[in-house]
């Protein structure tokens, strides 16, 4: 097992997820703010597939420049590099003013993003609780 520090990939992954979801929240706010701006195209941060491939391919691509080096953070290093891509959302309905924001879609995504963010925060909290428990040695 590669040296992963006491936190391993879980904490790194959850931290990164929080980061990217916060970014998505900003994008959704931006789309909602511009719901009536003529010519505005909604944007989003796409990161799910990048995170997935960083988790899978992490072992071989862990930030070392020589195969004989010991990767310091294991998979966490490749997770750290995931930035998410800012993409334009392709919309089915575009009004005559060239605005592509669908308020219903954005509200749905807002709720989803919030729930998933809270889920990640709770998991992170649980993870830290477990660590604390392991350190204390008692329940």
């Amino acid at each position: 097992m590669p040296v992963q520090g006491i936190f391993g990939t879980t904490v790194e992954l959850l931290g990164k997820t929080l980061d990217l979801r916060a970014k998505r929240q900003t994008m959704i706010s931006s789309n909602l703010a511009n719901v009536e701006t003529p010519g505005y195209t909604p944007t989003d941060v796409s990161f799910e597939s990048q995170l997935k491939s960083a988790l899978k391919g992490g072992a071989k691509d862990s930030g070392v420049t020589n195969p004989r080096h010991i990767p310091l953070k294991g998979r966490a290093a490749s997770l750290e590099r995931v930035q998410g891509d800012v993409v334009e959302v392709d919309t089915r309905t575009m009004g005559p003013d060239g605005n592509g924001v669908e308020m219903e879609t954005e509200m749905g995504r807002l709720a989803e993003n919030q729930i998933m963010y809270n889920a990640s925060v709770q998991l992170l909290g649980k993870k830290f609780d477990e660590l604390k428990q392991a350190i204390r040695g008692t329940l």
Binding site: Q25, T26, T43, V45
Partner: protein
């Protein structure tokens, strides 16, 4: 921090919608105003919304940052509706022209009411977005407990 950016964006939208609401109120209040300081009847006013990049100019890091793709909204212009005034035959009116017609503002009350509903729905949506950002930030703070 990202959540404050998000709240700033929503706040800009709230301000813009409020400006629009003020203009709608002004239009509704002046639906029968035949005199203005500039002369002639009142003209319908409308806000022009523009998506503006967040104000982070100056720092190199900010120029590179992806958060710049998120844009706030601003009212950049108050547009006067070019539609012609509504002419109504009222020979006894002090503002009547030689033919007895009075120029009334080019305002359609139904149109203004519809705009008002749109503005208040957008306002609500942005409040929801602010609350979401706030609760997410507070949830993160709970990790410290």
């Amino acid at each position: 921090m990202d959540f404050f950016t998000s709240m700033d964006i929503s706040a800009s939208a709230l301000a813009a919608e409020r400006t629009r609401m003020n203009l709608i109120s002004s239009n509704l209040a002046n639906v029968n105003s035949t005199r203005t300081a500039e002369g002639g009847p009142y003209r319908r006013k409308d806000a022009v919304f523009t998506a503006t990049p967040l104000k982070e100019a100056g720092s190199f890091g900010a120029a590179l940052s992806r958060a710049n793709d998120a844009r706030s909204v601003q009212v950049t212009q108050v547009n006067e509706d070019p539609r012609p005034p509504r002419m109504q035959y009222e020979p006894g009116h002090p503002d009547a022209d030689p033919n007895g017609y009075v120029a009334y503002p080019n305002i359609n009350v139904v149109e203004e009411m519809a705009d008002m509903i749109t503005a208040s729905r957008s306002y609500e949506a942005n409040i929801t977005a602010t609350n979401a950002a706030k609760s997410m930030a507070l949830k993160t703070l709970d990790l410290l407990r």
